[in-house]
Amino acid sequence: MRFSLNFIREMVPVSCEPRELARKITLLGLEVENLEPVGDDWVYEVEVTSNRYDWLSMVGLSREVAAALGTRISLEYPEIRTSPSLEGFILRIDAPDDCPWYLGRRITNVRVKESSARLKERLLHSGLPAVNNVVDATNYCMLKWGTPLHAFDADKIQGNVTVRYARDRESFVGIDGKTRTLSSQNLVIADAERVIALAGVMGAQNTEVTGETKNVFLEAALFAPVRVRRSRRAAGIESESSYRFERSVFPDYIEYASEEAARIIERDAQGEFAGCVCAGRKPEEGKKEVILAGEDLRRTLGVQVPEEEVEGILSSLGFSCRRNTPGTLTVTVPAFRLDVDREEDLYEEIIRVYGYERIPATLPPIQPGTGKESLYSFKQKIRVMCAQLGFQEVVTYSIGEEDSLRAVCERDPVTLVNPLRAQETALRTTLFPALLQVLRYNRNRSRPDLSIFELADRYGVEKTGFSEIPTLAFLVSGQREEFFTLKGALREICGRLNIADVEFREITRAHFSSALELRGGGTVLGWAGKAGRKECDAQGVSGHVFYGEVDVEALQARQRPLRFVPFSQYPAVSRDVSLIIRPPARFQQVRVLIERRAGSYLEGLLVVDRYTGKEIPADAQAVTVRISYQSREKTLTSEEVDALHTGVREELQNQTGILVR
């Protein structure tokens, strides 16, 4: 909202410097976002919060300025003329809930021309265009009183005027020249033939005041905020008028605005007042009284504001106070403060004038929490762990493109009703496309190798509705062997969380050329695999890409407290065995055999060399496994180790697909 200081000065003497005034009203809650001198005037750009409809009028702003300066406004109320009645003209309201009151005035024989320099300046400095002396008069009064008005060319109105809902597919051409198709959502002003205004939003072109206009019909009415909001949304228009109606207008000012606008038109366009017409009536506003208890005020704010000061502040804002039982005041809310209903609203009025800076800073006595690990702290722990394991955290958008999600995940995504851009249409079912995008982004900037993770939710459509699952996702790219970095990281995380019975199982997974399932504590925790060529090509990513997802809540549920595990006091002895493994044999078989044969003497096993190439069959792998033997009871002799190792070798030799070298 923009306002001109000269306009304000018509109602309140401003003694202080414009910048100082900006600071003062900002601290009252009317935040000045910009201040500029224009000629001999100053233009203030202020943020009007949605509760303060009254700050959308110069009268309301002047009251605030007066309160900031400790003075009062002087407002002249025009004398309202209620006669003569317009003869032979019928005004009917068919929608009394959404238009309780409508007031029309007729001004004849006007001479439409440019407005006076003063009037034009008032409009321009408040951000409204100057049109002609009739339209400008209505806009001036809207700015001043906050109540939108509309002027029709009376001669273009055919027959009687009705306020009604639009008929389905009824057409409306606004003064902006655009055609809109209406529905029963829209409240309209219509004559015998057609729509002549979208009520509270915009007038129609067919009855617009032009240079040729001789007679004017001036509308002032009360339209319901919700109706105007629905109507303007359905029609896709927003106007100065709808903006005000949506936030409420003060009924008392409708008459003043109408009367003042008529008088300006009579003066500036040499028109003659021909009479008025009225339908419905002004809603009765009950007197609003709020009981204010000083003790409650102190309990809420944490500061004791003396009763005299409370009374002073409230009366400067137009409230009147009556002392009640000791310690309480009966506060009468001025009729124009539609936003004040209850004690808490008064607390705000008091404190914004008293000054937030005068409230002391205290610390509340807070009961400490239960100490149970929250999902939040578990997530933080996992983040630190992943970073320590060499992965870089990324943060990507939770909303992705539906088709590219479907291209890599079978699950149905939750789609957006109102997407902002074509590339964000659905909540992601997997973090894979987003992490792949990070890889592509960095590869294009000469960073080919990445080890990244993200901890965020994935979502999906379920029979019961939807799911939202905290997910730890990894992406590793570069060498073929890097899958084992990822696999090692997963094992390490499970190890640090002391999850029982951690194992990997080979699974088939759509869109991945090979994949493992991570199990632990008797349940599936996640999976990891090598992304399919087609899926990577579709994203323009070459080379090997490894990706995995872990269910964070499953990890948290399966973690166990760490406990010391005793280790052997005796030395471990290692022996190597070199093998060639050829499908369908898998390394997993080798591991199982060694574990079975060496039993409790197995301290650990390590793949020290892995080779594929010329000297062995194309689908085979040559590996060297280093086996560590150890006893808990004694130092193993060289002969005992040899015997164990020979047993292992023989067992391996007997397997199809495994050749011991």
Binding site: E348, P364, G369, V395, Y397, Y441
Partner: protein, 346 residues
């Protein structure tokens, strides 16, 4: 050959060999060659008894001096070698140690939450898919009211449930409702997380961003406690020198409400008349919104507003990170350029 010439020749050969000797073994070989029992000097010593008495003394003395000189030089060289082996050229560059790290937003979020945890708050996250009742109505935001306009929202193609249409939460305040529906006062909670609004993406707007919501409810909570908590947060997070300014504002879910500014740390650091780019010359930077929880909100969660009072506050994590680390564009957080990520590893 005259004995003196022979000695000179031996010394010369010794110097040549010594210069080439790099290792301790090589030195040992030289020692044996020139001072050993089979060395030429030893053989010359052996001839002394057969010489005339006058020459005996002179040659003997000369041989002894030569022997000592060689021994001394060997010792010196051996010490030099030992030193060369232990010492290193430390001026080569350090290796690039590339480990992982957390994203800056994780760290900022944690730093903010930790500050409040240290004041006794607990951290509790909320879900991102929510309904109209929790996102709006329970927070005293009527569905068809202009106060909703600042909370533009993504709606989801999911069947509406008892609590209205499903949506992506447009702020973290619904966490307040979810928590208060379940818990009974007193409590003090911070709730961080992702929020979504259909805002056109530019240097300061993103359709996804992070907020931290905080709230405390008890029989004795006052606005002054809110001030104290936020002042402690600001001084811990931005530095002990910062001051706070509370400006009256309007939020549907708090009454009274305020926006909070911190004193511009950039202006404080330099004393120049040039317009500061961070606070645009106003000396204050808006960082959060807050207020006393509206009685309607407490009632919606079945908490008696006569008996209990509460405060609530909410802040944008990206905005705070951008201020603190002087990050010029919000998109940097989501592009995940490694060159950006690596600057803030932790």
């Amino acid at each position: 050959m005259i004995a003196r010439e022979e000695i000179a020749q031996i010394v010369q050969e010794f110097e040549t060999d010594l210069a080439q000797a790099g290792s301790a073994e090589a030195l040992e070989k030289i020692r044996i060659k020139y001072l050993g029992r089979k060395s030429r000097l030893s053989r010359m010593f052996a001839k002394i008894p057969s010489l005339p008495p006058r020459e005996k003394g002179v040659l003997g003395k000369e041989l002894n001096v030569t022997k000592q000189k060689i021994a001394a030089k060997l010792e010196e060289k051996s010490q030099q070698n030992a030193q060369a082996e232990e010492g290193m050229d430390l001026t080569f560059p350090g290796e690039k140690i590339s480990h992982g790290g957390r994203h800056l937003l994780s760290r900022v979020l944690e730093d903010i939450c930790t500050t409040f945890e240290n004041l006794g708050f607990s951290v509790k996250e909320g879900a991102e898919i929510d309904d109209e009742w929790h996102n709006f109505s329970a927070l005293n935001i009527p569905l068809e009211h202009p106060s909703r306009d600042v909370f533009d929202t993504f709606y989801l193609n999911l069947p509406a449930q008892g609590k209205g249409k499903l949506l992506l939460r447009s702020h973290t305040s619904p966490s307040q409702i979810h928590f208060m529906e379940e818990a009974s006062p007193p409590f003090a909670i911070v709730s961080p997380g992702r929020v979504y609004r259909p805002d056109q993406v530019d240097a300061t707007h993103s359709f996804m961003f992070h907020q931290v919501e905080g709230f405390a409810v008890s029989e004795h909570i006052r606005f002054s406690d809110l001030k104290g908590v936020l002042l402690r947060f600001a001084k811990t997070y931005f530095g002990p020198g910062v001051e706070l300014r509370f400006r009256p504002h309007f939020f549907p879910f708090t009454e009274p409400s305020a926006e909070v500014d911190i004193s511009c740390f950039s202006c404080a650091a330099r004393d120049s008349d040039e317009k500061c780019s961070i606070c645009k010359g106003s000396r204050w930077i808006e960082i959060l919104g807050c207020g006393m929880i509206h009685p309607h909100v407490l009632s919606a969660c079945k908490i008696d507003p006569q008996r209990y009072r509460g405060f609530a506050f909410g802040m944008g994590v990206e905005r705070i990170a951008m201020l603190r680390y002087r990050i010029p564009d919000i998109r940097l957080f989501y592009e995940n350029d490694v060159r950006f990520l690596e600057q803030f590893r932790s």
